[in-house]
């Protein structure tokens, strides 16, 4: 009776039992974060789903990579490898979040990125399965939006741009707001350094796995260091692969309309074949839809049909997420991930999008079978017109008209 008068007993019982449950549930997740071995790549290279075999290979190579690059809380740079990252910044991004007595903030990666990209940078963070597209797996060393040619490493500025401006229509946020506070203003550059570190680490691991499968023997520490040096070299020399993208000129409205018409014709022509993926009207409903390279690595390339659940499911124990078709963009919705300005579109046409079915085109003023610059500009203007982006001259005219209207008022 007395209990019935007091609501406290409800809280007591609830509080205590829920605390116990909570602690129980969490007991399994209290371990210190560690870099996970790339079991998916091991299974793919082995073309086997034998757990023991895969774990053995992935585990031994994982240990080797840990010796070279250190654990998540204490990263280190491989001896004798060319300096591809600023280790001071990498150390600031690694480890748990917080400030020490020096008031320097650490653990930036776990603060901003780990929920989606995971500790290892495998794109399999806790939230990954619910996101579309899936977060990027850095370990392949492939990045989509960059200034360098297909197959090359991106520049730091490319990664900084993605981190700062985010990717519209995806779960990748724009962290530009960090620039608004002096204590965080360099965080974006630091994060880009750590992303490169994880990418190098992951690619070294993949190469060592491949080497181990090909040579049927576990690589040595020296092998690992050599591979690390060669991968780091690629990043150091990334700027050599920058492709100069010509600036799209402003044209008068009449010429612009003609250019858009020419672009439309090109878009639906067999020469450009844009329509095959993007559809005749650029709605992303073309007949040819494909998977990205990250998915193909563990599916098509090892004889697994990504569309067949019974087939791809065998790779699930190794960390595979359900394969999803990398759908072509519906330009009418706008929000192009590589940027929505005409210049951004020119860049994407010329450079392609690495790791996806979007190819880079060859631009030549002499080869009649290749595209010339005018063709590229026409295509870019057409695509921009579908997204609703106005050419700069027209936008300027509009704002000028608006300003003069305001002035008149």
């Amino acid at each position: 009776m007395r209990f019935a008068q007091s609501p406290i007993h409800l809280l007591n019982l609830g509080n205590v039992s829920l605390l116990i449950c909570s602690v129980g549930i969490l007991a399994a997740g209290c371990s210190k974060p560690s870099f996970e071995a790339n079991r998916l790549a091991a299974a793919s290279f082995l073309e086997s789903q034998d757990q023991q075999k895969v774990d053995e290979l992935a585990g031994s190579v994982g240990e080797l990579v840990e010796q070279v690059f250190g654990p998540p809380d204490a990263p280190k740079w491989p001896e004798n490898a060319p300096t591809a990252v600023d280790m001071a910044e990498v150390e600031r991004c690694a480890g748990p979040v917080g400030r020490a007595y020096d008031k320097v903030e650490r653990g930036l990666y776990r603060k901003h990125c780990v929920q989606c990209h995971g500790i290892t940078g495998d794109g399999a963070g806790p939230a990954a399965a619910l996101l579309a597209p899936y977060p990027r797996d850095f370990r392949r060393g492939t990045f989509k939006f960059k200034s360098t040619s297909i197959g090359s490493k991106p520049l730091r500025s490319d990664l900084v741009k993605t981190i700062e401006h985010g990717l519209p229509g995806t779960s990748m946020p724009a962290f530009g707001a960090l620039r608004n506070r002096p204590e965080f203003e360099k965080d974006i550059e630091s994060l880009a350094e750590y992303v490169v570190f994880l990418a190098i680490r992951g690619e070294v691991e993949r190469r060592l796995l491949k080497r181990a499968v090909d040579s049927e023997e576990t690589p040595s520490l020296e092998d690992a260091k050599r591979v690390a040096a060669s991968v780091a070299e690629l990043w150091v020399n990334a700027s050599a692969n920058v492709v100069e993208v010509p600036l799209i000129p402003d044209v008068p409205p009449a010429e612009y309309a003609a250019s858009v018409e020419r672009g439309k014709a090109l878009f639906t022509s067999d020469q450009a074949s844009c329509f095959k993926c993007h559809g005749n009207e650029g709605k992303g409903d073309g007949v040819s839809q494909d998977y990205d390279e990250w998915t193909k690595d563990w599916t098509i390339r090892v004889g697994i049909d990504p569309a067949s659940k019974s087939e791809w499911k065998v790779m699930k124990p190794f960390g595979a997420l359900k394969p999803v078709v990398d759908r072509s963009r519906n330009f009418h919705l706008g929000g192009l991930r590589g940027g929505s300005t005409e210049q951004d579109i020119v860049k994407r046409i010329v450079l392609g999008i690495d790791g996806t079915p979007m190819p880079a085109i060859t631009v030549s003023e002499t080869d009649p079978n290749a595209f010339n610059l005018e063709n590229v500009f026409d295509l870019a203007r057409y695509v921009a017109s579908l997204t609703g982006v106005k050419p700069e001259t027209e936008a300027a005219t509009d704002s000028g008209t608006a300003n003069s209207a305001k002035g008149a008022q």
């Binding site: 609830g14 829920l18 974060p33 500790i119 519209p168 960090l178």
Partner: protein, 347 residues
């Protein structure tokens, strides 16, 4: 059996004495809510370890830490140190509440509730400290789960000192409403735990574990929404026409759950965007503003409204329980004690 003196006091012997407890308890509740908000901000900005020591702040006594460094220093330090200072204030007010209750609260369970609240606040403070000293996200999760429960307890103390608690007549026979609200309270707490897991998800978690928490969170959200609407329909039904004091809190719960569902959707979108970005132009063009003001407020609002839902459920449950057991309790009161109670209060 009911202790006669307790029963007499429970029916409200001296309203002016108890109103002091009511006011101090309300003060604690009013301070605890912004404390929860600030705690949410600590989580949203991952500022839990912005200060490496505890109970000091960068080697200073917490209360002597330079104000200018706090206010104009790094944002995460501003939030974390502010959380600590406000928590200390809440603790101080809770101590005062206990002394006020010792002097002015004649009911034993009322005094115990106040001491329990103080104990809970102190435990929360220690948990927060342990989270810092061990740098353990798991402890942060438990700390985050307990915060709203402390707030609910403070609201519960306000409730048992309210005029309604002392004067509510027995007017409910139905057991189903009581049980619905009991289940609702438990579910809101379960939901709090699920939400805290999503907010504090450990980096080493597998996507499948996170997925299961999301699914459970959605399922419990549906159950809570259903129960709240069912409770609301019940209390406005003709069967409850003569029962006062339930419609208001039930309507508040309906309002809160609607806001909460909207904030929940907003929280997901502002954290991870929609997985169907081609749904329309807005989602295709939407770029999450990482650490942006609007995003932060939505996420924090979701967490804070969750706390209000727990407190609201408890509030309504107390009112229903009171209307169910009041007569039974009073029935056990000796005649002379009942006579000593002002009729207006007994009624």
């Amino acid at each position: 059996m009911v202790n006669p003196s307790d029963s007499a006091l429970a029916s409200g012997v001296n309203a002016s004495q108890s109103s002091k407890v009511y006011r101090w308890a309300a003060f604690v509740s009013c301070l605890t809510f912004p404390l929860i908000w600030l705690g949410g901000l600590v989580t949203t900005h991952d500022a839990g370890m912005a200060v490496p020591d505890w109970p000091g702040t960068f080697g200073y006594n917490m209360f002597l830490y330079p104000v200018t460094t706090w206010l104009f220093g790094p944002f995460d330090l501003l939030v974390e140190h502010g959380h600590r200072l406000l928590a200390s204030l809440v603790g101080l007010i809770a101590i005062i509440l206990c002394f006020v209750a010792r002097k002015h609260e004649p009911r034993r369970f009322g005094r115990i509730a106040c001491w329990l609240l103080l104990l809970a606040i102190i435990s929360q403070g220690i948990l927060g400290g342990v989270r810092v000293l061990l740098d353990a996200r798991v402890v942060a999760l438990i700390h985050g789960c307990c915060g709203p429960l402390v707030f609910a307890l403070a609201c519960g103390i306000v409730m048992i000192n309210s005029k309604d608690w002392k004067t509510a007549p027995k007017s409910i026979e139905s057991n189903s409403l009581r049980w619905s609200l009991r289940i609702l309270l438990v579910l809101t707490i379960v939901q709090l735990i699920m939400g805290a897991h999503l907010r504090h998800a450990l980096p080493q978690w597998k996507p499948s574990l996170f997925l299961s928490f999301v699914h459970t969170h959605l399922l419990v959200a549906m159950l809570i929404t259903g129960i709240i609407f069912a409770v609301f329909c019940t209390v406005i039904s003709p069967k409850f026409r003569g029962v006062t004091g339930l419609r208001g809190p039930a309507a508040w719960l309906v309002g809160l759950v609607i806001i909460q569902v909207c904030l929940g959707v907003g929280t997901w979108i502002s954290s991870y965007a929609l997985p169907w970005q081609e749904l329309n132009e807005f989602f295709a063009r939407y770029t999450i503003d990482g650490r942006g003001f609007v995003e932060t407020m939505i996420i924090n609002g979701h967490q804070a409204t969750g706390s209000l839902l727990i407190a609201g459920s408890l509030w309504l449950l107390c009112r229903v329980e009171r209307r169910y057991v009041a007569a039974a309790a009073y029935g056990a009161v000796p005649a002379q004690v009942a006579d000593a109670t002002p009729r207006s209060l007994v009624r």
